[in-house]
């Protein structure tokens, strides 16, 4: 039976995401999907969901919501003090929710983005093969008060706890992995060194489209002829600002693409609060050859 979750308070910024919208970047459509794919995959795995089941991505301050129907949920990623009817929950475990219960969030303990998965996945509408919210493609772009998120009701059953050892090490990590981007070789040796030695932090202007770094690099590179970019592409603007394109990032760009973050690099970066320091670990392509 279809049941629903009703949003009492929307929190800071939450949206429905899955693993993204594939095959439409050529039409200018961003991939979208969970910013931290590793945490999102873990949440679905705990519930034995399909990897692409839709879940709720929660940023910093979680929403408050009432369940109208029995559900099984799992919360992963950032630790944002989730509580069910006032009883604190742990991340990385399966929790039975009874009809009428209220889920809320409290103080942040670690990380920046949490994932709330539900058994069977949220049943919000699919557009172009994905349930990920993105303004201009889907009717909704963020969680709002009074919204109702449909899900399939499940019978309560005994729950299992998942050892959280090693599953979310990337959240606390201060090392963001990257590979050289197409224009990396054009950088001066001193700039290449700075990229690897400096400590960077995300600027307040960061969002699902891109994470801007506060620290500026000297830039002598000219603009390139507009070319394709990907989530994880780090662009260097004329003013020296570094912008790491994220899951909702544009599909093409004209700034030099100096780095390409690895998947782990992206998952780590999106868990950093604005101002929180991290370093860049430059890998070599030979490490990825089979």
């Amino acid at each position: 039976m279809m049941a629903q979750v009703e949003i009492i308070q929307p929190g800071l910024y939450s949206s429905i995401q899955d693993l993204g919208r594939y095959g439409y970047r050529g039409f200018g459509v961003p991939t979208s999907g969970a910013m931290d794919r590793q945490a999102a995959k873990l949440a679905n795995l705990l519930l034995k969901n399909e990897p692409e089941a839709a879940l709720l991505e929660i940023t910093l301050q979680g929403p408050k919501m009432a369940f109208f129907g029995a559900a099984k949920i799992a919360i992963t990623g950032a630790r944002l003090s989730p509580e069910l009817d006032g009883v604190e929950l742990e991340n990385n475990q399966v929790v039975n929710v009874l009809p009428g219960q209220v889920l809320g969030f409290g103080k942040r303990k670690s990380g920046y983005r949490a994932y709330l998965a539900i058994k069977g996945g949220f049943q919000t509408g699919k557009v172009l093969g994905s349930r990920s919210w993105y303004a201009g493609v889907t009717p909704n772009s963020r969680l709002e008060k009074g919204m109702k998120l449909p899900f399939l009701e499940t019978e309560p059953e005994s729950v299992s706890r998942f050892s959280s050892v090693k599953v979310d090490e990337h959240i606390a990590s201060v090392v963001v992995e990257a590979l050289p981007g197409p224009e990396f070789e054009l950088l001066q040796p001193s700039e290449k060194e700075a990229l690897q030695k400096w400590r960077f932090s995300a600027a307040k202007e960061s969002n699902r489209m891109g994470i801007q770094f506060q620290e500026k690099l000297e830039n002598k590179l000219e603009a390139i002829l507009t070319g394709p970019v990907l989530p994880g592409t780090v662009q260097l603007t004329p003013s020296g600002t570094l912008i790491a394109l994220m899951r909702d990032g544009q599909t093409t760009g004209g700034y030099p693409r100096i780095l390409q973050l690895t998947e782990t690099g992206i998952n780590t970066l999106v868990q950093k609060l604005p101002g929180e320091k991290f370093g860049i670990k430059l890998l070599e392509y030979s490490q990825f050859k089979k």
Partner: protein, 241 residues
Amino acid sequence: MSDFPKIKRMGEGAVLVEFEPEISPEILEKVVKLKKFLQEKLIKQKVEVISAYNSLIINYLLCIEDVYNEVCALLEEFSGANIDEIIESELFHVPVCYDDVFGLDLGEISKAKNLSEKEIIRLHSSVDYLVYFTGFLPGFLYLGGLPKKLHFSRRSHPRKKVRKGAVGIGEKQTGIYPQTSPGGWNIIGNSPVKLFDPGADKPCKISAGDRLRFYQVDLEEHQRILELVKRGEFSIKSEKL
């Protein structure tokens, strides 16, 4: 021997292929042919091929195998295949209303360029633009071929909100904003057509290699087309080239 195409790895699962860095119909033809070739070769794999003016990204979604060697082998095959088939393309006729209600910057361009508004409109709707690629926003077409007389620098202060359908000029380029967004181009009109339809299998009908020609409509016709578009009863007129 030409240094092009250049092949560069781009992260764990993607490869970038670059032709000579120039905006030209000849380079675009190479890009579009290679794109079509790759898409056909890779149809059974979860791979996206995304193109721009002179380059393509081949993005493997599932594997972290040695994608670089696979792409190199495919490029070898492509250069040996000597493809001379003509890629089918279409000419699309896109209505634009240049009325003052929409043409916010017509006056400024007219003054700066010493061209009457009528002449700007005539020039803008007198040529067939070549579609290079779609990027920036869903359904945003990069068009080449803007008459030189209409080249005009971007606004020094971008607008926070440019309305959906706005037709603008920025440097050597012209284009249509497919959705409301911030923008720095000079706005000269508005097109009522839908360039991006998330409900369709192929969300954009117009793609790289196609051509586009603007034709002028008055405010009343703009409104009429807008209504038809809302009801899903309008399709952009086109002809095979």
